[in-house]
């Protein structure tokens, strides 16, 4: 039987408890909305709220558009940098890290100044314009995760030789990106996408300062006004984040032509064999 070393095992147990006990406490609290019984009343309450559905839908759509926009910007950029401009890769890497250094509040105030009332492009004066700014903001926030994921995905394949192989077969650069590069970094894009989704779904600062009906401000508002529902929301947000991480793993490790689930055995497999007489 395999033996586990004592000290590292203790550290793992302590870290797990540090993580799981508050989670359990929150979950337990979220079930105690009705006095004396454990129930999902807080969850029911949240799901029955129109605001919950509308803010969640708004944030989910904004996140998905940001992911799409991010992928359209990042994949060709990372491809071109790796193929033709490897020297500027550290600079691009640094630029994509900036959203982690510059607080979102700075970014959003910058947007409000540049695209405000007196701007040549007054995006903040209309709802669609402000929504667009929020999506652009989410795209910027996703850059560190998206670029790293896609760049690592490209490092895993020999893009220079694949490009040359496709070129020798008559493909244009656009066709190469669309038919060779994109499909081969799809799992990397998905990994970046799920990270982006889990971050921007509950994003507060940008959505709040741009006054958007998003899920992040809704979560904060609920925290101020209610007791049990925020705990239920926290657990749900946690489940969404972990589901995103799990999907990221599934996509990252899946090979082309591989099924998501193992093939179901055909019924005939279970049929009794005929005994030859």
């Amino acid at each position: 039987m395999k033996r586990y070393p004592a000290f590292p095992t203790l550290i793992v147990i302590a870290a797990s408890l540090y993580f799981l006990v508050p989670l359990y406490a929150t979950f337990d609290f979220s079930l105690r909305m009705e006095r004396g019984v454990l129930s999902f009343a807080a969850y029911r309450d949240v799901f029955q709220s129109d605001t919950f559905i509308s803010t969640l839908t708004f944030s989910a759509v904004a996140s998905l558009v940001a992911i799409l926009l991010g992928a359209l910007i990042i994949v060709p950029t990372a491809y071109w940098v790796r193929l033709k401009l490897p020297r500027v890769r550290p600079l691009v890497e640094f630029l994509t890290l900036l959203p982690l250094i510059i607080p979102p509040v700075v970014l959003v105030f910058g947007y409000m100044r540049i695209y405000g009332n007196n701007s040549f492009l007054p995006l903040t004066t209309t709802d669609p314009g402000t929504n667009l700014l929020l999506v652009i903001g989410y795209t910027v926030l996703s850059l560190p995760y998206m670029f790293r994921a896609v760049d690592n995905g490209m490092a895993a394949i020999d893009i220079a030789t694949l490009t040359e192989a496709a070129e020798s077969l008559g493909a244009s650069r656009f066709a190469i990106i669309r038919r060779v590069i994109f499909p081969n970094v799809r799992s990397a894009i998905m990994a970046g996408a799920f990270l982006t989704f889990s971050i921007s779904l509950g994003e507060f600062v940008m959505a709040s300062l741009l006054n958007r009906p998003a899920f992040g401000p809704y979560l904060v508002q609920m925290g101020q006004d209610y007791a049990y529902q925020p705990a239920a929301l926290a657990i749900m947000a946690f489940v969404v984040t972990w589901a995103s991480m799990a999907l990221m793993q599934v996509f990252a490790t899946r090979k082309p032509g591989q099924r998501f689930l193992p093939r179901m055995p055909r019924l005939s497999t279970f049929a009794p064999r005929r005994v030859q007489s």
């Binding site: 394949i157 020999d158 030789t161 694949l162 040359e164 192989a165 496709a166 070129e167 020798s168 077969l169 008559g170 493909a171 244009s172 066709a175 038919r179 060779v180 499909p183 081969n184 799809r186 090979k255 082309p256 032509g257």
Partner: protein
């Protein structure tokens, strides 16, 4: 009339000129190989033909069309890479169909052509497999089928066998040559493996420092090397210092023995100068074959078993000579430490400038 021509093609990367005034004419259906050490410029020449590098000067034409500045995707060239370069997201069928679909061929014609190509490489049963599900040899066969499917004007092979194990390399080499002959496609093959180049090519171009040192049939390259580099790079050579006794009669003096050579191998001899007399390992015999054979006395230092041949190191004077003998089970071989006599024919000796 050459089908593929390179006229005074040079290529520089910054101050470093890797290909210098390179001229080449390849006939339609010919199989030529670029052979040379790493960094000699052979791959750069191939990449310029493919359109992946632009010549600094000179011109490249295919079937009379100047393609020097034509983008790679417009040249109608098929290329096979050392690293296979199959598209990992596509199965075998889609990999082979890629070039056909890109060129706008209709689905029925694509299907027919892909099936034909897969039959040609005998991998029709693996059409649904993905590259990661196949061996290196199988992947390289698919890469060959993919390159040939759109019926390219020229096939370029960039060290396609280097990543394969010895047995697969040999069988794929034969397959490549067979398919090339069947299709009659003009082919340029780059390799640093001399055995590969000599065994499948119509002509071999030995490259050195960005220039073609010698172009010729495999036999010319091996038996009549024109430069010392070619002589030393292709095959194994034993070198002896010899003094020119009579330049007019091609008479040399080797360790006190007078040797009359049938020819000077193109070298300009001057009386009294010291030249290098070069002999291949297989030019030595343990028994005299002809009356004018030159004898050398030595002592066996090492016997190496290579299957069909036995390669021995023999000390002759202060020099170690490498000799090859056929492995004949019924013939007794000299043992290590034993004194032996070696013979060579003056006709097999090459004269190289010292």
């Amino acid at each position: 009339m050459s089908f593929l021509t390179l006229e005074s093609v040079s290529k520089s990367f910054g101050a470093n000129t890797v290909v210098k005034e390179f001229d080449l004419g390849v006939r339609k259906g010919e199989f030529i190989s670029f052979l040379g050490p790493s960094g000699c410029g052979k791959t750069t020449v191939l990449r310029m033909v493919a359109g992946f590098e632009t010549p600094t000067s000179g011109a490249i034409t295919i079937d009379g069309e100047d393609v020097t500045m034509l983008p790679a995707n417009k040249r109608r060239i098929g290329m096979v890479f050392q690293a296979y370069a199959l598209f990992p997201n596509m199965n075998v069928y889609d990999n082979v169909a890629f070039g056909l679909k890109i060129n706008g061929m209709d689905n029925a014609a694509v299907d027919r052509r892909v099936r034909d190509m897969l039959d040609m490489i005998a991998l029709g049963h693996l059409a649904d497999r993905y590259p990661y599900q196949m061996s290196g040899g199988q992947q390289q066969r698919v890469a060959l089928a993919r390159a040939l499917a759109p019926q390219p004007r020229v096939l370029l092979l960039d060290e396609p066998l280097s990543a394969l194990d010895a047995k697969i390399r040999l069988s794929l080499r034969e397959d490549i040559r067979k398919i090339q002959r069947e299709l009659g496609i003009t082919t340029v093959f780059v390799t640093h493996d001399q055995e590969e180049a000599l065994s499948i090519s119509d002509r071999v171009i030995v490259m050195n420092k960005g220039r073609a040192d010698q172009m010729g049939t495999p036999s010319e390259i091996y038996n009549r090397p024109k430069t010392r580099f070619v002589a030393e790079f292709v095959g194994t050579l034993n070198m002896f210092d010899a003094r020119v006794a009579d330049a007019g009669a091609n008479r040399l003096n080797l360790a006190g023995r007078d040797i009359a050579l049938p020819s000077s191998s193109g070298a300009a001899l001057r009386n009294g100068e010291t030249v290098k007399l070069a002999l291949r390992p297989e030019a030595f015999y343990l028994d005299a074959q002809r009356p004018d054979d030159v004898p050398l006395e030595g002592r066996v230092q090492h016997m190496g078993f290579h299957g069909s041949i036995i390669r021995a190191k023999v000390t002759v004077g202060e020099q170690t000579v490498t000799i090859d003998m056929f492995n004949q089970a019924n013939v007794a071989m000299p043992s290590v430490g034993e004194p032996i006599k070696l013979y060579f024919s003056p006709a097999d000796a090459l004269v190289l400038a010292a």
